[in-house]
């Protein structure tokens, strides 16, 4: 899996342009999130693609051919924080409710809605943590689930320059395994 942070101009159709590129070049999107950034007019996408390092190089090169793309960072191999949010509705009875409260506590999930026969948990974390909670809730009956997809950010102070501020590094430099120069 390769994780890209893509900064784009917030213009109509930009999501279609990015999504169309992945479809046309036959790359599978595992997850895609998009939202505003600290800069007006700039949106930020986190795209997780099912490909290898070589495919990542091509994806990055193709993304830069889109006029509305401002900056592409392949954060896969860099120190980064990756988070996802899930809402999970679980079936409950008077007997199981305390058990689920305990599980939520262990996972640091929040109970955000309670009714007679179900409750809704909110959990933030890495994908593995979300998967694990789902697994332990499964026996109680998961009625509904929604996940946001991944958000990614490189660690460190000022490590993610705003779009256009700094020339992005060549992926050939940061990922020598995909260098195309000898």
């Amino acid at each position: 899996m390769i994780t890209f942070v893509v900064q784009v101009e917030n213009k109509p159709g930009v999501l279609t342009r990015v999504a169309s590129l992945f479809r046309r070049r036959a790359y599978n999107i595992e997850s895609l999130t998009v939202g505003h950034t600290e800069t007006a007019g700039v949106s930020r996408m986190t795209v997780v693609v099912d490909t290898n390092a070589e495919g990542a190089h091509h994806v990055e090169a193709h993304l830069y051919k889109l006029v509305n793309v401002l900056r592409v960072d392949n954060v896969t191999a860099r120190p980064n924080v990756i988070r996802e949010l899930a809402l999970i509705k679980v079936s409950t009875t008077a007997r199981t409710r305390p058990e689920i409260f305990q599980l939520a506590d262990v996972f640091r999930a929040r109970i955000i809605d309670v009714s007679n026969d179900s409750l809704v948990l909110e959990l933030t974390g890495g994908s593995a943590k979300l998967d694990r909670l789902l697994e332990v809730l499964e026996p109680y009956g998961v009625l509904e689930m929604a996940r946001t997809g991944l958000l990614a950010m490189a660690r460190g102070e000022g490590a993610a320059p705003a779009a256009g501020e700094l020339t992005p590094t060549r992926s050939e430099d940061t990922h020598p395994d995909i260098a195309y120069s000898v």
Binding site: G13, A61, Y64, K65, L166, T167, S181
Partner: protein, 570 residues
């Protein structure tokens, strides 16, 4: 004086400032405000008969000069008819700007009359496209569109303008410069990259340069020629690279690939170094990639970074303008001498020559190769030849020897039948002093022959050679080789092309024997105005050599010996 202008006026004001003097188009409801405003600007409008022709004409205009070609059409069907032409320009990196009308912005999304989501449709076949709803955005968008179309790897851009955007007024201001794209990685080759390339060149014993369309786009013919001479490296051409290096140059081997000459493909397979300049290792060039040039190290000089390692893994990728990079390599690379290697390649030519149809004595049959060979001799190789797609296209590439860039205009990547006639009109409008010949099959000609009316109305002077074999010849050839001669839907009944041309008010002739070819070409050249010549050639003639799709490049179907035909080897 007020500088208030309507969006339509701003459009033309901006186009004029971008240097546009001619557009190819077809009016309609949603583009009417723009057409109305056009009359007040110094613009020549060529009225096409089908919008596909407008896009091909803009494309031909661009390929003949390197300047951006402009097509204009209305919304809905006008816009969708451009699509084939836009995709053609995209595949061959040709800079065109298409302007389409769109229904009023309040009607967008309502399935209004002649509404069509053309920005959605053309998204994957343009470098970029725009939907404009406000006159305030027109000038900056036109400026940016032309910049996008001609910068980097050139390509098509579409601007869709709603009717109210054309009608409303605002202050006109021309932006100082097109918005520069920010944040692109600096991919300029580093010293180490250049050194790595030079080391490979110095070490090579059997090097070959692969010369592509990028050389023509970058205007790098001269520096590439110098580089080849300096290093003594023979050059193989892609179809679109033809003309980038003179065919008559002793280092020029000729065309590579599916219908390339045997000695060219053989040289590539035996090479120990390929220096790819402005080409993209298309599947028609490589054949089976698993067996392609296995012994060769590879240097790839290419302006589009996404092409590096896309089809063929290379040892050194140098991203940037091919002219600048070759110029940077030239002073640092040592003089080469590959006389033995070149002699080895040349040895393969003799073997091929006896099989060549050109060497066949007049047996009463008229072959397409004869027609194109004679056309080349009569025009002194100086014509701009615009070809369609199919057998005649390959024969033209084999038998017309192009010595100057932009003298062969053909649809390579998309392989668009119907391209030649409209593209030739665009080329002639762009270069009125050039002698322009169309070489086209009877199939492709009938796809866009309505543009004969455009020729008549505009007084265009081009010469059209229809290579008429009564078949969709290239498809028939595949059926012959790979489908047991089951000729499904390839026999073709055509109208009387002579009468047809005459109906358009054009001059026409028919040629069915070899002796009449040269007189007919001479008469056409002497005639002022368009001439259509219907060359009735051998019906089941075949393009040789041929690398079957996906086969190894060295496994060619070779020309049968001409001696067999004359009976001399019986």
């Amino acid at each position: 004086m007020s500088t208030q202008r309507t969006g339509a006026q701003i459009l033309w004001e901006s186009l004029v400032r971008e240097g546009v003097t001619c557009v190819f188009g077809y009016p309609g409801g949603a583009i009417l405000p723009a057409y109305d405003a056009m009359l007040d600007y110094p613009i020549r409008h060529v009225l096409v008969r089908h919008e596909q022709g407008a896009a091909h004409m803009a494309d031909g205009y661009a390929r003949a000069t390197g300047n951006v070609g402009v097509a204009i059409a209305t919304s809905g069907p006008g816009a969708t008819n451009l699509v084939t032409g836009i995709a053609t320009a995209m595949m061959d990196s040709s800079p065109i700007v298409c302007i389409t009308g769109q229904v009023g912005s309040k009607l967008i999304g309502s399935d209004a009359f002649q509404e069509c989501d053309i920005t959605g449709i053309t998204l994957p076949i343009t470098k970029h496209n725009y939907l404009l709803t406000r006159p305030e955005d027109v000038a900056a968008t036109v400026r940016e569109a032309f910049h996008v179309a001609r910068s980097g790897r050139p390509g098509p851009v579409l601007i869709d303008m709603t009717k109210d955007c054309q009608q409303k007024s605002c202050e006109f201001t021309w932006p100082e410069a097109a918005v520069a794209q920010s944040g692109r990685p600096n991919l300029a080759p580093r010293d180490a990259d250049l050194e790595a390339a030079i080391a490979l060149i110095h070490a090579a014993k059997r090097p070959v340069i692969l010369a592509g369309n990028g050389i023509i786009g970058a205007g790098a013919s001269e520096v590439v020629r110098q580089f080849a001479e300096h290093t003594d490296i023979p050059i193989a051409m892609t179809l679109l690279g033809i003309g980038g290096v003179p065919a008559s140059h002793p280092l020029n081997l000729g065309m590579m690939g599916m219908h390339g000459e045997a000695w060219v493909n053989q040289a590539i397979q035996e090479a120990d170094l390929l220096v790819a300049l402005g080409m993209r290792f298309d599947d028609r060039v490589t054949g089976n990639v698993k067996t392609y040039a296995l012994n060769a190290k590879k240097i790839h000089v290419e302006i589009d970074r996404s092409e590096i390692n896309k089809n063929i893994k290379v040892d050194v990728g140098l991203v940037g303008d091919v002219g600048q990079i070759v110029a940077a390599l030239l002073p640092r690379v040592a003089t080469g001498n590959h006389a033995d290697w070149r002699a080895h390649i040349d040895a393969g030519k003799g073997d091929a020559a006896v099989r060549d149809i050109q060497n066949l004595p007049d047996s009463g049959h008229l072959y397409a190769a004869h027609v194109i060979h004679d056309l080349w001799r009569e025009t002194g190789g100086q014509a701009v030849v615009v070809t369609d797609v199919g057998q005649h296209q390959m024969w033209e590439a084999q038998y017309y020897h192009h010595d100057t860039p932009r003298s062969l205009i053909t649809s390579g990547g998309l392989g668009t039948m119907g391209f030649a006639l409209p593209a030739a009109i665009g080329a002639k409008v762009a270069r009125p002093d050039a002698e322009v010949w169309v070489v086209v099959g009877d199939g492709g000609f009938q796809m866009t022959m309505c543009e004969l009316a455009t020729i008549a109305q505009e007084g265009i002077d081009i010469k059209v050679a229809i290579i008429n074999n009564g078949y969709l010849g290239m498809v028939r050839q595949w059926q012959e080789f790979f489908y047991e001669r089951r000729y499904a839907a390839t026999p073709l009944t055509s109208p009387d092309f002579v009468k047809l041309a005459e109906a358009f008010g054009l001059t026409a002739a028919r040629v069915a024997d070899r002796a009449s070819v040269i007189p007919a070409v001479q008469a056409a050249r002497a005639h002022k105005g368009t001439v259509v010549i219907d060359f009735r050639v051998e019906q089941e003639d075949t393009v040789y050599p041929m690398v079957p799709a996906g086969a190894d490049l060295h496994n060619m179907i070779r020309r049968p010996s001409v001696l067999a035909e004359t009976g001399a080897d019986q």
